[in-house]
């Protein structure tokens, strides 16, 4: 029963969604709902389940970091920062805004707190997001340039024929994409940038990418079918 019910759920849900693809909107004339409605309804269920699992996620963060801090592990200070950050972002967000019934009563006694909590514009959560969260995310993204440089240095060393081809292709594409490089190529021959675009990007690159995409799509379809038919059951711990 522990495995049968999840398999039945997985098989029936996947079958319904696959079947919906082959149905017209006229479905609504007989059953009262369109195929898109069914699809949307199932996706709403997924969202609701996701909402509940968010609690599990928060519990996991607190458990792991509290354990790390209490056991005085070397990285305990990072854990402390994580816990404080979680609370600082969460509490102002879940505190009732002045437009809510609870907020109206609360801010009667705490008038100076109006405009700080809740979900309206200009509140503390937005400030934290704009001045802490967004800059930190941008910083992480910006470091990608340095990682690309170090990875490219290793990848472009011409040790083998394949690596040499990669190096030549990369140099040509970089020349083509950088305005100054394109200007230099145009000085040699105006047809070179177009040649790089046609042969390298829209020729070799596009065809290889399409090959990978077609293969991946078939793989995804095959895997979906294995799950729909109940053959792939490792998600239940069963081979």
């Amino acid at each position: 029963m522990k495995r049968t019910v999840p398999i039945i759920l997985a098989v029936s849900t996947a079958s319904i969604l696959a079947l919906v693809f082959f149905l017209n909107r006229d479905f609504a004339m007989f059953f009262g709902v369109t195929p898109d409605d069914i699809k949307q309804e199932i996706l709403i269920w997924v969202t609701i389940i996701g909402g509940f699992t968010l609690i599990l996620g928060v519990v996991s963060i607190l458990q792991v970091n509290l354990k790390s801090f209490s056991q005085k592990k070397p990285d305990r200070w990072y854990s402390l920062v994580t816990i404080i950050s979680l609370l600082v972002m969460a509490i102002p967000g879940i505190f009732p805004g002045p437009e809510t019934e609870v907020g109206k009563v609360l801010y009667t006694y705490l008038p100076s707190w109006i405009g700080v909590y809740g979900s309206q514009n200009g509140i503390i959560v937005n400030w934290l997001f704009d001045h802490l969260d967004a800059p930190m995310m941008s910083t992480m993204f910006a470091t990608l340039a340095f990682y690309i440089a170090s990875a490219a240095y290793r990848a472009f060393r011409a040790r083998t024929l394949e690596a040499t081809l990669l190096l030549v292709a990369a140099v040509l594409v970089m020349f083509w994409r950088v305005p100054m490089g394109e200007a230099v190529l145009n000085m040699v021959s105006p047809e070179i940038p177009e040649w790089i675009n046609m042969i390298l990007m829209r020729g070799v690159n596009a065809s290889v990418q399409r090959g990978i995409i077609i293969g991946a799509a078939l793989g995804a379809a095959s895997m979906s079918l294995r799950i729909i038919l109940g053959i792939e059951r490792i998600y239940l711990g069963k081979t």
Binding site: S60, A151, A216, S222, M223
Partner: protein
Amino acid sequence: MNTIETNRPARGAWNKYAQLASSAVVYFAAVFCCVWFYSSDIALAQETNNSDIVDTTLADSSSSDLTTQDSSIIESVLASSVIGETKPAKPTGLIAWRKWNAFLLVIFFSGAIIFFTQKAKAGKSLFIRKIPGLEAIEEAVGRATEMGRTVLFIPGIQELDEIQTIAGVTILGRIARITAEYETPLMVPVRYPLVFAGAQETVKQSYAEVGRGDFYRDDMVRYVAGEQFAFAAHVNGWMMREKPAANIYMGGFFAESLLLAESGFASGAIQIAGTAEPAQLPFFIAACDYTLLGEELYAASAYLSHEPLLLGGLKGQDLFKASLIAIILLGVIGVLVFPDTLGNWLTVLLNGEYNN
């Protein structure tokens, strides 16, 4: 290149698989037949309704002033109705017949997979191409065991409703069985709560299946952060502090792919990655020891299982892929040499035009 010999499991297990598969097919077919049966009635009903709408609208139009919008509606209804038209009516009914080509491909694809699954069930050995990245997984876990360090597994950064994440979680199940057998520490950071719940249950079940349930710990799977780069920052920091021996990335990755892979490289771990995102593959190829390209990600679970039933699916997929290559070649020849016959026929097949 080697051959993976399939082992025939107990007859009872086959019966169970066969029952499940046949039940699913019968269920699917029954629902489809019901829908087909009712579709003709609905089509008739709709044609009648269309005529009624035209009659009613024309009657209304004689007694009242019409706006431009009303006129356009009437024109569109007239254009779509069967009155005075020699052109065949647009297909209606429950089934979207214009997708006949997709249905045909689904039937052929399913048939190929079921055929090879049956062949595997009959005890025939199946040849599966060796995939170095997957062969290296056991070696990587073994290395971690010898070094007494952790195996890091990331099932991508997408939600659980994405097929790449599902593939990642199924591979996690296989790897968790190996780490359980070797008693190697496992760490699985995830970005979404739903993936957290799914991955935690998968790892727990895998440990229980190999009789090592007592080695399972709840903090093996951790919900880290919902933000993409916060997730990357946490994992990077953890990698540089804990120095895992093996990093395995399987699933959908985006801009953080290189951040993770380069940090993993700097920490000295053996790295195996797999994704179906073409834009991220070059980053993984540059920074990882082994990379699974596109479809190999979806084949990984079956490959690692060595289960004939699952390997049959891979063979079916290969047959379908070979057929697609043949169709593409035929299409190229058709469009170039016989544009009015073969080329046209293939265009109709691929576009799925109905009644053209």
